[in-house]
Subunit: 311 residues, 5 copies
Amino acid sequence: MKIRMVNSGVFTPIDDIQATLTAPEQGFYWIDADAEDLNILQPLFSLHDLAVEDCLSEEEQRPKIEIYEDHYFIVINSIRFDDEEIFLRSLSVFLGRNYIITVTNQKINELRTLKPILWEQEVSEPDRFLYLLIDLVVDNYFSVGDRIEAKIEKLEEDILMHTKKSHLIEIIGLRSEILWLKKVLGPQKEVINILNKKDLRLIDDQLQKYFSDIYENAVKIAETFETYRDLMGNLREAYQSSIANRANEIMRVFTAITTIFIPLTLITGIYGMNFTNMPELDMKYGYFMIIGIMATLGFGMFLIFRKKDWI
Amino acid sequence: MKIRMVNSGVFTPIDDIQATLTAPEQGFYWIDADAEDLNILQPLFSLHDLAVEDCLSEEEQRPKIEIYEDHYFIVINSIRFDDEEIFLRSLSVFLGRNYIITVTNQKINELRTLKPILWEQEVSEPDRFLYLLIDLVVDNYFSVGDRIEAKIEKLEEDILMHTKKSHLIEIIGLRSEILWLKKVLGPQKEVINILNKKDLRLIDDQLQKYFSDIYENAVKIAETFETYRDLMGNLREAYQSSIANRANEIMRVFTAITTIFIPLTLITGIYGMNFTNMPELDMKYGYFMIIGIMATLGFGMFLIFRKKDWI
Amino acid sequence: MKIRMVNSGVFTPIDDIQATLTAPEQGFYWIDADAEDLNILQPLFSLHDLAVEDCLSEEEQRPKIEIYEDHYFIVINSIRFDDEEIFLRSLSVFLGRNYIITVTNQKINELRTLKPILWEQEVSEPDRFLYLLIDLVVDNYFSVGDRIEAKIEKLEEDILMHTKKSHLIEIIGLRSEILWLKKVLGPQKEVINILNKKDLRLIDDQLQKYFSDIYENAVKIAETFETYRDLMGNLREAYQSSIANRANEIMRVFTAITTIFIPLTLITGIYGMNFTNMPELDMKYGYFMIIGIMATLGFGMFLIFRKKDWI
Amino acid sequence: MKIRMVNSGVFTPIDDIQATLTAPEQGFYWIDADAEDLNILQPLFSLHDLAVEDCLSEEEQRPKIEIYEDHYFIVINSIRFDDEEIFLRSLSVFLGRNYIITVTNQKINELRTLKPILWEQEVSEPDRFLYLLIDLVVDNYFSVGDRIEAKIEKLEEDILMHTKKSHLIEIIGLRSEILWLKKVLGPQKEVINILNKKDLRLIDDQLQKYFSDIYENAVKIAETFETYRDLMGNLREAYQSSIANRANEIMRVFTAITTIFIPLTLITGIYGMNFTNMPELDMKYGYFMIIGIMATLGFGMFLIFRKKDWI
Amino acid sequence: MKIRMVNSGVFTPIDDIQATLTAPEQGFYWIDADAEDLNILQPLFSLHDLAVEDCLSEEEQRPKIEIYEDHYFIVINSIRFDDEEIFLRSLSVFLGRNYIITVTNQKINELRTLKPILWEQEVSEPDRFLYLLIDLVVDNYFSVGDRIEAKIEKLEEDILMHTKKSHLIEIIGLRSEILWLKKVLGPQKEVINILNKKDLRLIDDQLQKYFSDIYENAVKIAETFETYRDLMGNLREAYQSSIANRANEIMRVFTAITTIFIPLTLITGIYGMNFTNMPELDMKYGYFMIIGIMATLGFGMFLIFRKKDWI
């Protein structure tokens, strides 16, 4: 647990916080806690029982916002693209009049990125901290979206060039990734919309219009993901068509082989007939001539088909 | 029939209701009735004949709203997802100045859920009761929508992985479920729109904007269901393509077998010809050599095709 | 021809109408005429020549509105779904300051439905009559739309379950029905838009917003029909895919038969070869053994294919 | 070259025009010229050099509007559907304060249609003339659109009923016609938008809202053509599916023939084997019995396939 | 490096610029520099370090705008279609109160086109210069869009007429070109939106509405490119269908050949049977008759198939 008195040099020991909570005019506390620290923090900031319970729970938390008497409890999902895989981290935030508590069980990149910004921009209200944090979180969705788009395009090109059966697995994998992100983004968007629209006491009116920018971005991301879903449909179609065409190619080769051999078989059939009077049969080199004719015919058909680009 | 004096401890026997109807400043009556109770209630609240008739009728009621002199009659459809099946329940509501009568023939979850909320939120007007009720009803559509979406996604994945003929039945079933819900939702949306837009005497102006929130939700649900319809079209397409591709696979195997055997047949045809001078025929082990050659050739073709991943 | 003094008990003989036309404060005339009656009515109401000519013409009239000095001439198309067929009826209306003349050559349901409403709602202006009439007309398009949607859904299900060639005829029929309705609705929408938007002297400003409701409905219907067109495209696709898949099934059976017989033919080819030294040929029961082997092999292949669900 | 003093009986010889140009309060000149007349007109009206050059050029002019000091130069494309072909005519217009010069090299229907309207509506300003002219031009696009839609629908029905290879040529032809019109309409729309939006000195403010009506129509047409493009995509799809299905039908017949003959060939193979002990071979009518059996078998298979509707 | 005192005849040597920078009432400096010139210019105009660094970097710059104390740094991408290939050039601009510095490493057409316009339109503010420049840049995207559209249409027609395998390469190439442009346009649009929306000190309020026109155009282009993406999907589909149909055609020919030969093979099979009593075998010209019959039959089938347009 790290406690920082943002925008004020003074460091306050954890036990004195309560005293200063009532009137820190020159800044606010940012407490970067993990779930277990809440046991200490709850009595100090009188955090709501249900919210603390949520943080302590092992389960994945869905994005939500709870409005309590003198603080808000916000859960949002941070996203990270690592090693071609997408990771989701729940980030819980308690926002009070002059403190903000971020609760995470795993390191979250956005918090690290946020630190220098806080000092540089001379942030002095917790609601502005919240805005910057959520902005960073939402921005990350864009870059994840870009990565997914790149993956889709790569896959589409691969499918068109050399379809493989394994592409189906990739399509299904990518598709469920997109659906999963779409599902995550839904409630997140709702949380941001509440910050944007509702008349919230702890969030400055001036600031609210910035949240509306974030909301617009969230909507844009959701639309993009909707588009990806359609693109996946196209991909599925391209794959199935490619597979069908490839199957057709093979069939064509098979059929071509049959088509070359059937006339030759007819010739052998002819000289296998038992007519009494078949002059060719008694010619000395009849057999060899016929073999020669058959070879010529077969090879000729092969050449014609090849020239016509049929096989 | 259960009568409750909401937000006031006083219990009024059914026969005294009429007396108190004129001036219960501190709350309103909620009467949770079934259709038969209406015979008693109709004279007390002078409910409109046509509305009562509708409630008593055996037929499924479509969502609607009727505006009478001093009360409204509203029918909405509650939805429930149980055991992978969707159930629809008609819920009729009589809304008066200081009473609300809910008429149901089957238990409706939303009413049960509503009870604690009424007390907790200190609801003291019947129109607010109506708002909370319809809000719950509409919210349930969302969760039904989620379940349907999950079903669609599961089915799509199944189809892409291992298409079975039975999937067609599932597609048709799911598709008609969606169409049915779309049809149910249409008039429901209209009812909510009237509550939202029209200038209704019995509904507080302040409250009306809340109805507009519900209406937005209803519109969102309707759009979602429209999307599901499109998704079902994609599913149908994916199924048909998959079936076609699978048929192609089998055809390919068949054709491959034919293609392997045809050249062998040609060889037998050759040695079945009746030429006088065919030296091989008189070789001692000619027959066995040819059998060997044929076996080698056939097996060789099989190996080549397999290696090329053609069969 | 029926003349009614709407909202006033007084009946006026046709010849006296002109006298009262100038100042009937307490109501308006509704004259339910057929085309021939116009010969009598034209001089009385000084109806415009071109309008009367249109009514008398045998040809189908397209919806339109003509603004004349002291009356409007409106043609709209009423629609009726009867015995699974759609019928279109032209309905011509002359709207004056205190009269409305409806000209029809066939009975039109909407007029019959309108009568009780007129009395019930105490309609006392001709423009309100017009509003109610057009509202009824447009409402009927909704129910026709519903029927068409039901037809489409039924057809889609039929096609997916058991595709028949006759379905193509049904698709084409339904499709041209939809295109025809779309074409009818276009100018109708324009007429309503003029009633809604333009500043018309004979139509009360208050009433105009009601026309805007009708216009919204007309737009909604037009959009629905646009959707139906898309649905028909899907249907065509589903049909063609189904037909293709069914053809594939049959091909598969054919190919399977060939595939079973080709190896057997090879065996007969082998024993048809003329090698001198083929020990099997001289075995006493060689022939019967080979026939047995062939039968076993053929039947075995059949069983394997069946078990793999290939035929 | 025809000069008309619109809305004023006075005819002015071409040489006196300049004199009256400064103050013709009661009307305006309409000069219906061809390109060569411009040599005479240019000095009189001091038309801009570049504009006159454009008119004289042999090349097809793209729709555009040029704003000069005291006159505007407008080029629009008139469209005509004649003998199932679409013709495009450039129409150049010089609009001055009290004159309008229309320059055409071929007869343009819209000008002919316009003449009676000018007199009937007592048009007395050149900008209103321009409005009426462009309105007529744009209206013609609608009817061309209708014709194209009719062509598309006819073609779609033809394709679904009896696909022919020639349909592909028709699709491609229709498709490029639509693309060509779309390209023509683009800059035309821009010209109208400028007349509609920009603050133009020579066009009355009152009139500008009428141009906005035309612009709306132009937008509607452009959207319609966008739709046609999609419809052509569907048509292409329908054609390709139909062709594929028809090919499948033929393949099926071929395969059916093969399937009927293969078992018969097996029988001949059996009796062509050289086993010593094959009792049937020595039966007197063995040969004829086998021929009979083969005929029966072949015909039987044919009947079965036919009955199953497989061929 | 060329320095111009736009809209003022005075030429200022580079070293005196700083002196005049404070008060050049009658114009502004346009300095057309390349990256290396920045070493001289940076101290004179106190350009921001990071911006200069960006210009000097070898890497391709993404479009962006940076707002510094007394100047803005803007990067946009100019596009050029040359020899059927699309080239992208980064163009960096420093905008100050009375100077504009354009930094390019390659010649950019837009700057050349801009020169005469500057003098003609008597541009006297640097922000207006910026507007004209960006307008030209964005306009070029339209013409690139047109070229791409033409390419798509040409390719579509080619594919429909004579599908070749090489078309797939063209589709993939065109597709990635479109995706690449879409990606370039995205941040460009954002830059223009900032110029359009944000309250920027160095850009005149009057001018801002012109930037809004450019933004509209940029949005239109982005939408067009979105459409192209869809069109590429259609193209892919058309290609795959065409390839499939072409494969079907070939298969049909193959199958037709087989179908013609199989019955002939049956005949040879019949006369290859070893029945003792087969009268035809001993007829003198039996063999030749059978050969004749087979030839007739084969040729007859060929004619029938050809007449039915099956091969």
